[in-house]
Symmetry: C2
């Protein structure tokens, strides 16, 4: 069963699937960037574009699911290859969820455009988005190049993303307490900040899957978490 023919068929199937993952990651990073830029520029048309673009991401995930199942069914991959296939499936699911978060952010833009702006927080959101998008990009690269070192760095950076979220949460709270007219916008912006923070978690999950794929072991799940808003006020 280990003839060179079958092995190379598996490899070329896997390469085709990985090409889909790369394309999907590109679409997701674009959606993330545009969702926060639409908010920053109060650009409702751009937000609509992000919402509508999510379908293409969902369709790619569906395609990856189907092709993954076919590879498993046709090639009956052995332990290590099966691990790669399952990690790929998990990574594409993480990317799809990131796309959903970008869509959720875009959905709130029309509402926020009609509310008083809390200008001081937009810069923080932009910085957080840029950072998380880089984490996503590096996580996908680490997967494609089976680069455990880079994956480990992505995981380490999640603490910074969590810290940025915590600071933003406190800042929003202050603005809302100072002026009740900020409350509605503050609640929506809090949501958006949390969605970006969760994208960081998903980038981390992709990095963890990469490590699993290379080493066969998932990193310790008890790494320190730094979203303290849930345990502090």
């Amino acid at each position: 069963m280990n003839s060179p023919h079958i092995v190379s068929s598996f490899d070329s199937d896997l390469e085709a699937i990985q090409a889909h993952v790369v394309r999907m990651a590109g679409l997701v990073e674009d959606a993330v960037r545009k969702s926060v830029r639409a908010l920053s520029d109060r650009d409702v048309a751009l937000a609509k574009q992000v919402r509508e673009g999510d379908r293409a991401i969902d369709e790619l995930e569906e395609l990856i699911k189907v092709e993954t199942a076919q590879v498993i069914a046709l090639r009956a991959p052995a332990a290590i290859d099966l691990r790669v296939v399952l990690a790929t499936l998990a990574i594409s699911n993480n990317l799809e969820r990131c796309g959903d978060y970008a869509k959720n952010i875009a959905k709130r833009t029309p509402t926020l455009v009609d509310l008083p702006q809390i200008r001081e927080t937009q810069g923080a959101l932009n910085r957080m988005e840029a950072m998380v998008r880089e984490m996503l990009s590096d996580a996908t690269d680490s997967y494609i190049h089976r680069d455990v070192e880079r994956a480990t760095q992505v995981i380490a950076r999640d603490v910074d993303a969590d810290e940025m979220y915590n600071n933003l949460f406190r800042s929003l709270l202050t603005h809302m307490m100072e002026d009740p007219r900020n409350i509605a916008a503050g609640m929506h912006l809090h949501f958006i900040a949390k969605n970006i923070e969760r994208m960081g978690d998903l980038a981390t999950a992709i990095a963890e899957q990469t490590i699993y794929l290379v080493t066969g072991e998932l990193p310790d799940e008890d790494r320190p978490k730094s979203d303290v808003t849930a345990t502090e006020s």
Copy 2:
């Protein structure tokens, strides 16, 4: 390759996996119930129990993933059987995410215990939780019994869950505007309400997977959504 022996091996493998899904669904429903009860009773110990219990749910999902991959690799199931296996994998992922939401709710309990209580909203949270938990239970049942009728009912009920969330959002907003001391608690409670609403979405996703599994087609994704807080202020 279609000897009765292989077919029945597939069926018994699938039954074993389905038993894991049922067990997982039971743990998730329990976690959902306890997470909101801990909040209602301001019971930090119960919240801790929910947080710690999430590991068992994650482990079951991991087990289902591994056994699913083995079934595909060993039995090379044909089109329809492969669809069942993939739907099962997706359903267990949806249940795992529900467990994460319950854990997220439980994480906020210690914070909320130290903040002034917004009593009027707890009843609404309890009703929403009871409704979504029933949706989850019915969605899992519809999967086990391949019951498209019941799955369709679950999908229809998601509109009610969304409506309950919208009302709660407005109620929280009012309480926060009336008294700034409610702002911190209001932000956390908004999160909890949204997490419960998302569990309703996941129950709906399970019902949709059930319909896919039986009919081979996913229901139309353009069904009306009723979370209007993202598009209205």
